[in-house]
Amino acid sequence: MRSISRRDEMSLAEPAALPVATSAAPRLHVLKRFTSSFKASLPAYLLLLPSLVFLALFTYGAMGRVLIDALYQRATPKAPVRFVGLDNISAVLADPAFTGAVVNNLIYAVGTVVPSIALALLFALALSRTHAVNSALRAALFLPVLIPMVAASALFLFIFLPNVGLLDYYIGRLLPVLPNWLGDPDIALYAIMVITVWKNAGYYMLFFLAGLQAVPEDVMEAAHLDGAGPFMRLRYIILPELKPTFLFVTVIAILNAVTQVDHVFVMTQGGPSNSTNLVLFYIYQQAVEHYDVGKASAATLLTLAALMGLTALSFRTMANREGGP
């Protein structure tokens, strides 16, 4: 069963090829077999060609360029670039700003992924039944997703304004000393995390809502008849059924934690004192402020490797479980 489903996956792009490939004599010359299968799937490749060209040009081409750039460096400003092998990578790893950014990013990832998924699940459970009130509430919770990150950051810039902002205006009545939300290195990263959670929870809620639809009704009814309370049903039926959704959302959320840094650009520029510097923003700084393409490319490669490893791992886990979202 599993192998057939694999085969199905692989042949999605070339349905015409399937019968040819399976009916061909196994002892045929490899090259011949290859050409015949190629001939049969030619229309499919032709249809894919435009996308492949653009993918090659704008994704793999750029990645290749990064790979090359990461191997070159110039010793002094006027010196020509020369091949330095892995020197750039070791320079990045030795840079305290990079390790600082990695640590910040880990805190940021844990501190945004866990609360936003927990909130999303809570919302989804509360709003799983469809009626007018719930639809309105769902729309309200989904609204932050529709606001572009840059616009949301500009909005929060005013909310977080020290002393005169919306937040301080209300909290100011309670606290003796008003926090400088974005200007204090101890608080700034958490202020940024709040925005991310606010922005993403509604989006992840959608996945959980979809996942909840897939929980079999009859099992729930049976459990109900057997006297399982709401908590028991959640613990033993709903959560296990939602496992694939959890996995998928976790991957998406972690990727977001690394790739979404718009609010850092708008609100803090990585400051104060690098306390909100995330990995992607570090790469930007190396490329733009330091004008150091070699180091920026090396940091990009490290990040890409980490992300690809993470994705591969999670997809393997997903494939090992039956199905996915």
Binding site: A75, T76, P77, K78, A79, L157, L161, P162, N163, V164, P176, V177, N180, L182, G183, D184, P185, D186, Q269, G270, G271, P272, S273, N274, Q285, V288, E289, H290, Y291
Partner: protein
Amino acid sequence: MLLSRRLLLGLAMAGALAVPALAGEGPTEIDLFFPVPVDGKLARDMGTLIKEFNETHPAIKATAVYTGSYDDTLIKTRASIKAGKPPATVIMSANFLLDMQIENELTNLDSLIAADGTTKDQFLGQFFPALQGNAVINRSVYGVPFHNSTPLLYINADKAKEAGLDPNKPPQTWAELTDWAKKLTKREGDKVTQWGIAIPCAYDYCGWMMETLTMSNGGRYYNEEFGGEVYYDTPSMLGALSWWNDLVYKHKVHAPGATPGPAVSTSFISGNAAMMMLSTGSLTYVRDNAKFAYKVAFIPRNVRNAVPIGGASLIMPAGLEADKQKAAWTLIKWMTSPEKSGWWSRATGYFAPNMAAYKTPEMVDFLNKNPDAKTAVEQLDVAKPWFATYKTVPVRKNLEDEVMLVLNGKKQPKEALAAAQKAADETLKPYNAETSLKLP
């Protein structure tokens, strides 16, 4: 249906390709990259200015392209140079010129000046002397000052009167300013409801304010003659940072933490801060929005009156075609002429770098109506160049990160400046290796 759409697309593409081929006959098309670094409605004013240029110069078609902050403008300019399509001219933060020149990204303007039949001295003579330091590198002209600023002390005159202070006699020294700030701070128990003074500290602004305080404490931020040295770990900067630190933690008249420029101006406008140090570029914004009487004054001194300039120059990226270079030069000269320079100054609050602008009747009239705009110009007598080094931004950030730690109470000024100096020396190392430390 699909085919016809494809056909249409093809035709549209062919048309798009044909247009530039035909354009050879028309006006020379040039791009101007411009940033909007301060509060206000600069983008709209720039549109007005360029529209007027195009109407009076039929042979040239200039397009103004908004490119974000000063830092963003540098990025976008560098990206277009790398892509082989540099803009014809850019309004570039005046302290990026040196770094760009080191990277061979600027057109030397000497030959264009000579082609006009003027000498370099005559050409530069139009502008305030304080601005020349950031426009001339190795005795060659690389930039033409377009809009410039100095930091100013803004005072809420109503609050000053309320506290028994005379806003017509603004504080002249750090001692007087400290005293004013103390009197202007209002507390309810431990809670501060009104701060005496606000000084911005976010990346970019923070370095400029440190240069301001260091200069008025007798010091220098960097070596004006050579891009490989900064003077962070010095008594004059230590005094400057210690005073700022004292305002926050000893006198408690300045809010703790790092506060960006827009937050400072909002705080001043809303009455939450009674005084602030901010660029003259924000003057029009304050004039339009303050619902109270305000005063502007020189930055007070501890040792001497001195401030850095800020603002931007018009530059030409390297690698331009001759006709674009010529068109851009026409645009640059037009934009920095006394009339346009004065108009831009009145619209934005920056001062006009061209001295003759202040002789035009419109400007005389304007200054009579808005005497506060005069202060920035008068302060120019004591102004000096803006710090510019090899890799200006990272070198500046080496200091700013440490200053932010001090303002947040996480480090003492002395150790912070030692750390900043060490980091900056490291950043400057490659440049020194090929200049000052490259020995025969």
